[in-house]
């Protein structure tokens, strides 16, 4: 007999796999990695209007951004890399 997924198996499994806290943390990690090093400017965000359905993602597949190296400012002069762009 093939075991089936009851709601309780499902939630046990997914809470063990990746939970909303890990999920939030991954979003923070990516944002942190990007904004530590770069600044962003919008070139085109016309597609970002919400779809307005159950999954309310953007209506199109375009968010055009211009990235620039951020100046690395070290508050306490503790930068050992000696590398300020």
């Amino acid at each position: 007999m093939c075991p089936s997924f009851t709601p309780s198996t499902r939630s046990r499994f997914f809470s063990g796999a990746i939970n909303s806290h890990d999920w939030e943390l991954e979003l923070k990690f990516v944002a942190a990695a990007i904004y530590t090093n770069y600044t962003t400017k919008i070139i085109d965000d016309m597609d970002m209007e919400h779809l307005g359905g159950y999954f309310s993602g953007p209506k199109g597949q375009k968010l055009i951004l211009q990235f620039e190296r951020a100046e690395l400012e070290f508050k306490h002069g503790e930068c050992t890399f000696g590398r300020i762009l």
Partner: protein, 369 residues
């Protein structure tokens, strides 16, 4: 005993998450952004954000060696994005039972879009392929670790957990385990929706966060100051070019340190509030109640048992009493409040469709008067 296994696997998965963050966010995504920044070429962040989360989630499920590499591989990324677009379909056509669709087909009305069906097949094949690689590579992990092109191997966390659960019951192996072929399809179908939904919601959230931040250079500056306080900060490239010390270094700050940065936290919370990925209604049926304490929802008293009630994040997140000026993205609102007010705001935040089973009780309780 079960709890023991459980906490062990939680520890292990957080180690894998860390490895994947390094391999995918730092080693795949940042080089792409860096060369775009140096060349002055704009990037379609929505594509990259989908790519980065597909890579991350498929690697978490199947292992880095078996997951997608859409961030670096333009050709496969473009194909995948094209399939995803083809798969978008009006929801109402999916609501028909198969018998109705086939009846209408006999009358010459074809509800199914053939292009969409072949796109779905291609997507199924893609995930089945990853599953197959995960199977082969996980059985001979030692060897594949060496053989793998870039030498990166990570535990297929979710695949392993699911496999173990399907083969056992209450921690004991099943006396008659299901045939492997059936296991495979069960795993594949179970995972596919979650892979896709997980990718899309994360990708959209990151894109909205970046769209909002892009409009506020001053806030980007403050955020960067906060990020540079991390130890170590997530600097890229990690070492100066003239630094000949080539020993690998710990490149990432602790997850807890990243998690507790107040401004970054406020920026994410505000993005989840205003740009909730799952904004639609999550209906629930009222339970059978004790006649002495009838069910009340949002000022509607005496709702009988078995009635469908629903709430949606979109409306909860725009309650002007809790979130003044609700249509504006203002991360400051999460910082400039006392502990009690913040607690109230957190209570009204409901961005995860996935946590619905657990959260719905809270929210209905809060709505009742």
């Amino acid at each position: 005993m079960f709890g023991n296994i459980y906490s062990k696997s939680a520890l292990q998965s957080s180690a894998v998450i860390r490895e994947l963050s390094q391999a995918i966010f730092i080693e795949r995504l940042l080089p792409v952004i860096d060369s775009a920044a140096r060349d002055g070429t704009p990037l379609n962040m929505l594509d990259y954000s989908s790519a980065v989360y597909s890579d991350f989630i498929t690697a978490f499920v199947f292992g880095l060696q078996s997951g997608s590499n859409f961030v670096q591989d333009k050709q496969s990324r473009d194909r995948w994005l094209a399939i995803k677009r083809l798969m978008l379909t009006p929801f109402w056509t999916l609501g028909f039972p198969p018998s109705v669709s086939s009846f209408l087909k006999k009358l010459g009305i074809n509800l199914e879009n053939p292009q969409m069906n072949s796109a779905m097949e291609e997507m199924n094949d893609m995930y089945l392929n990853m599953l197959q690689t995960a199977e082969t590579l996980s059985d001979s992990s030692r060897m594949s670790r060496e053989e793998n092109q870039d030498g990166k191997w990570t535990e297929p966390v979710v695949y392993r957990q699911l496999l173990n659960q399907l083969r056992s019951s209450g921690g004991k192996p099943l006396p008659y385990p299901p045939p492997e072929s059936q296991l495979r399809l069960t795993i594949a179908s179970e995972l596919m929706d979650h892979l896709m939904a997980g990718t899309d919601t994360s990708a959209a959230t990151l894109a909205y966060l970046m769209q909002e931040l892009s409009q506020r250079p001053g806030l980007q500056h403050s955020l960067r100051e906060e990020l540079l306080s991390l130890s170590p900060p997530i600097l890229y490239p990690a070492t100066a070019p003239d630094d000949d010390d080539s020993t690998p270094r710990e490149a990432l700050p602790s997850p807890r340190a990243v998690d507790t940065l107040p401004l970054l936290d406020a920026i994410l919370l505000e993005t989840l509030r205003l740009h909730t990925p799952v904004a639609g209604s999550l209906p629930r049926v009222t339970p059978s109640s004790d006649p002495r304490s009838p069910i009340t929802v949002l000022g509607y008293p005496n709702i009988p048992p078995g009635i469908c009630v629903s709430a949606q994040a979109y409306s909860l997140h725009r309650n002007p009493e809790v979130f003044p000026d609700p249509e504006r993205w203002k991360p400051e609102r999460w910082l400039e409040t006392g502990r009690e007010k913040r607690g109230e705001m957190m209570g009204w935040l409901w961005p995860f469709g996935s946590g619905a089973d657990m959260c719905i009780g809270n929210h209905l309780a809060m709505l009742s008067t």
